[in-house]
Amino acid sequence: MVPGYQRRPESADCGTTIPAWREPSVVSMIQVREVTKRYGAKTVVDHLSFTAKPGQVTGFLGPNGAGKSTTMRMIVGLDAPTSGDVLVNGKPYASSKAPLREIGALLEAKAAHPGRTAVSHLLALARTHGISRSRVDEVLGLVGLSDVAHKRVGAFSLGMGQRLGIAATLLGDPAVVMLDEPVNGLDPEGVLWVRNLLTGLAAEGRTVMLSSHLMSEVSLIADHLVIIGRGKLLADTTVADFVTAEGVRVVTPAPDALRTTIAGPGVTVTSTGAEELLVAGTSARKIGLAAAARGIPLFELTPQNASLEEAFMDLTRHAVEYEASR
């Protein structure tokens, strides 16, 4: 018997207790290993490797056509990789005795027969695993669709369809939850709800992965970022590191003296004005200390927290598949 997923009233103790639904020894994660997918001559995913770990939200980002959906389809075995392999909780997905317990996947909102009611749709999925009718009602309640449980899916709005899809992912109380563009079509209240739901799931020790082509959507909930462009890995980093990677803006009357002072392996200095430098590869603190030691005056010392959105655009600029002409 699986205890139902409960939204926690308070998040104070999140992550400190071992969730009852999972043996602590079992690895819950998604491992994508050197995966390549070709359709004919077109390589959609190119030697992609990354890991989505338990207890955190992994944001899977990339421009449209970058290969996000294809990668997610390969994770649940809908598409077979041309080469490489994918492990879900340490084993190939198809070998699982209870796939819905391993991973709940929302791949696109419209994955239900329009002539079926919400209850029948979920019941059809639940019965494969002997999941009870009461669990179906429970997840419908969780996503706020109890009132329309007996309405046909064809009459649902895009947002309701997304909620139904999310309900389906929660059916088996899975260790991993993976959602492809989950907030598409949701109203602001729905977006906030998804955000809370996903951070709650991660706080319970589950692996959560969601894709988006919008950094702004992901940056608020993700702990970890996997960014791809044209099927290739562009960045595999934490949200914090991704932002600070931009560098430090320094304004000084003696830019040349400062340059020689802070020069070192991994440090790059770009001149952005007569008295301005952009320094990457070191911290504002180190620059300040080095300048003080040599008596170089500094007028300004600003870590460049270029917005995540800018950093993302910058990173993916050369990997945009479909670009508007300028």
């Binding site: 809908l78 994955a111 027969h113 029948s120 059809a124 999941i131």
Partner: protein, 249 residues
């Protein structure tokens, strides 16, 4: 809480029974079977026509109808996108096809056997006086009625297999109608020697043999005919299984 064959079958039954179109199509199939049986029984007669032949004259239309039901069940997984949810829940894939076939086949067998008996009862009641009436106890009557149910059950499975194979409702229905209705007509256009050799083995002719009270010239024996038809179904199912297992969903 694990995935089980029984669970997958129960899931497919839920999918099948939760669509309004399933019940409408099934009702139409039974109606065609009974209505045409009654009309033919009341008004037709001819050399060698038995009351069973007349009572079951709606079979070819009912076959089209249950075949469409099966084809929609199979193809709608793809046309609606449901297949992604289905296969994410059952990543081994093939149990879905077997369960779908089992559900559609048994549902059609049960309802169409009942329909065949109803058609025979109703047809006998209005039978015109040029044809001799038969009872359930007469030679071959039970076999013909049960055979009609079995044939129509297999047609539903054929529909499922075609739907999963071609992944399009229109395509699957077109192939089904072609196999059952058009191919026999085309075969008749061939030179007699060839036509006579292959006609008994065509899907609808082979399947119908089980419903004939006496084996006519140029037809297969009842159970042999049904076995040939089952062979077509098995081959189509195998092709559908191959595509389902080997290609991206």
């Amino acid at each position: 809480m694990n995935i089980t064959p029984g669970g997958v079958a129960a899931a497919e039954w839920t999918k099948f029974s939760s669509l309004r179109s399933t019940w409408i199509t099934t009702a139409i199939s039974v109606f065609l079977l009974v209505a045409f049986g009654m009309i033919a029984s009341a008004s037709f007669s001819g050399d060698g026509m038995t009351s069973i032949d007349l009572a079951l004259s709606g079979t070819s239309l009912a076959a089209l109808s249950v075949g469409v039901l099966g084809a929609l069940l199979g193809a709608s997984e793809y046309t609606t996108g449901m297949i992604r949810a289905t296969l994410a829940a059952v990543p081994r894939r093939l149990p879905v096809l077997w369960s779908k076939s089992l559900v559609a086949g048994s549902a059609a067998f049960v309802t169409m056997t009942a329909g065949a008996f109803a058609a025979f009862a109703a047809g006998s009641a209005v039978l015109n006086d040029k044809v001799t009436g038969l009872g359930l106890g007469d030679d071959g009557v039970l076999r013909a009625l049960l055979g009609a149910g079995l044939y129509l059950g297999l047609v539903a499975v054929l529909g499922v297999a075609l739907g999963v194979l071609v992944r399009s409702s229109a395509g699957a229905i077109a192939i089904l109608a072609g196999l059952l209705l058009i191919v026999p007509g085309l075969a008749a256009l061939l030179p007699d020697s060839i036509s006579e050799a292959i006609t008994p083995y065509l899907p609808s002719n082979a399947g119908s043999a089980v419903m004939a009270l006496t084996q006519a010239d140029g037809t297969l024996a009842p159970w042999a005919g049904l076995a040939v038809f089952a062979g077509y179904v098995v081959v189509t199912l195998a092709a559908a299984a191959y595509r389902l297992k080997k290609t991206d969903a």
